[in-house]
Symmetry: C2
Subunit: 296 residues, 2 copies
DNA sequence: CGTGTCATTGAGAATGTTCAATAGGTGTGG
DNA sequence: CCACACCTATTGAACATTCTCAATGACACG
């Protein structure tokens, strides 16, 4: 039996009401947590303007009109404290969620109290998948750290997709990358030992954060709790702690003050057998053309 | 360290040349294995006509024209022996693969010799995902048992999608279901003990096979090797064996002669905490209408 | 300075792996 | 029909990994 000691979140996350629409109260409700974290992330890199635009631009060549629309989305961000549930399992979401700042995630609870995180939503990531089909969610969505999020109503989102073929195409490729990432996680959880697993996760985070300018060469802000890491990697948080120490002892990483430095990048990659190709599909970008309509 | 004893497949699978186009030689190359297995599966259920059509019909209402097209695809099946690699990791596939009979899978190898299966392709399942974007595959594809497969050239497949909006829509929902299944597997690998994990897998197989008429109420043909199960569930095959025995000892299942019987379905479901909602999205089927074009 | 959260440590127990051997079943060739 | 080869399933025993429980530090906040 694998009845892990219930982590902090087990009691925190499921209790508050889920957020279906932008809850203005939240901003006032829990102000102490909210003000530092996101700013720290954003200010850590001068280029971090709009991570979503940056990310899509790696897949397709965006037109000025596309960019204007994307910037419009990013303008409407709201702040949420850490560990806030946003959508519950089986909800039928009425809006897409764009992460502007901070870390969010998809997760599931089991009745034994265990939680499994199935995906990280980093700045520039969009939660939207089943929107068009109005399917009940197969997992919950919530913040890990304090976040700035843009909630995009369904109609507005669908409209965007219709008007902006390039963006729609980029989002399809994002979906493919996400599916590939899920398979990579399955491999990680099923076939790698504790240290390898953690190393793999840290490598993935580095590359994903770098793609939006939120990580420098070998360093990034890492505000993830060991308990969250445990729920990510399928281990107890005691074991996460020990594995972290092993990586430190081996001189692979340094982790202090919510900041991770990878000291020996290829050492870590080798340990993890990390092959990043699943993250960067050899995109065949569409070139801007006359058929592109101007912004509405 | 998790350097499992290399299963049989480690040496078998990577060696033969990958199959990019229908290899007629295969049919003659290994005839002994090929002739029984698929027939046994097919004949086990009178309604098993075209599992692909059956599956899509659970998502949308198909028109007679749609059905004719789908039946056309299924007609062109070819046989492949068990444990045949079809596509290698990093390949850019030139055809979709429709499973008509037998079990295939997606998998990855690690350099330590371990293999992780990331998805099962059962009769009625289609491998196609990255086709449109011509991305290198993030994992390999191969048969587990002897299979009958239809290889659909890229152009023909894209044509089908264009001409058949209902089919295209159904396939999008299939993709959503597949993504949900990946997340479920992550949860399974990360958060469940051996017996729970296996139980969950067996429950999923039951429902998926039932959806295409290949399982009766609580029984199905189960031609999977314990070594394959090990690569699926992230455990050693010795442990798979012991966990299987435990489920048998607890009177939950009976497994003999490649046939699995679930003796206490709710016992198994409870153990696995199995919630099948990820497999059956509350579809909103399109009704056939005048806008539907007749078959070409 | 008390409270709460997160990180760290120790020690015993459970789960899962490895290695190695044995058993069962099936098809092949004589 | 039997002996053999091969593949799969099963078993035992030693070992490794990981978990649980419980206690202790470290640090931030009011």
């Amino acid at each position: 039996m694998r009845t892990l000691q219930p982590n902090r979140l087990v009691t925190t996350l499921p209790m508050p009401a889920p957020v279906h629409a932008p809850p203005d109260e939240r901003q006032a409700a829990d102000p102490h947590h909210v003000h530092e974290e996101p700013l720290r992330l954003a200010s850590s890199d001068p280029e971090a303007g709009d991570p979503f635009r940056r990310k899509l631009a790696t897949y397709v060549e965006l037109t000025p009109g596309d960019i204007r629309e994307l910037d419009g989305l990013a303008a409407s961000g709201r702040r949420y404290p850490a560990q806030t549930p946003l959508l519950h399992q089986a909800d039928i979401p009425e809006c897409a969620i764009l992460v502007l700042d901070g870390f969010a995630c998809r997760y599931k609870f089991l009745t034994n109290g265990r939680r499994q995180i199935t995906a990280y939503l980093l700045p520039g990531d969009l939660f939207e998948l089943d929107l068009e089909f109005r399917l009940p969610l197969d997992c919950a969505v919530g913040t890990l750290t304090a976040c700035r999020l843009a909630l995009i109503p369904r109609s507005e989102y669908e409209d965007l997709i219709r008007r902006r073929p390039r963006i729609a195409r980029a989002l399809q490729m994002v979906r493919l990358t996400e599916a590939a990432t899920l398979r990579e996680w399955i491999t990680n959880l099923g076939s790698r030992s504790g240290p390898e697993r953690l190393a793999h996760f840290l490598c993935e985070m580095l590359l994903r954060l770098r793609a939006t300018g939120l990580a420098s060469e070998n360093q990034y802000s890492f505000p993830i709790t060991q308990a969250d890491l445990a729920d990510t990697l399928g281990m107890s948080c005691v074991h996460v702690n020990r594995v972290l120490q092993k990586l430190r002892r081996d001189g692979l990483i340094e982790l202090s003050g919510r900041r991770l430095t990878i000291l020996r990048p290829d050492g870590l990659r080798t340990l993890a057998e990390y092959d990043a190709s699943y993250l960067k599909p050899a995109a065949t970008p569409l070139r801007p053309s006359a058929s592109d309509r101007p912004a509405a």
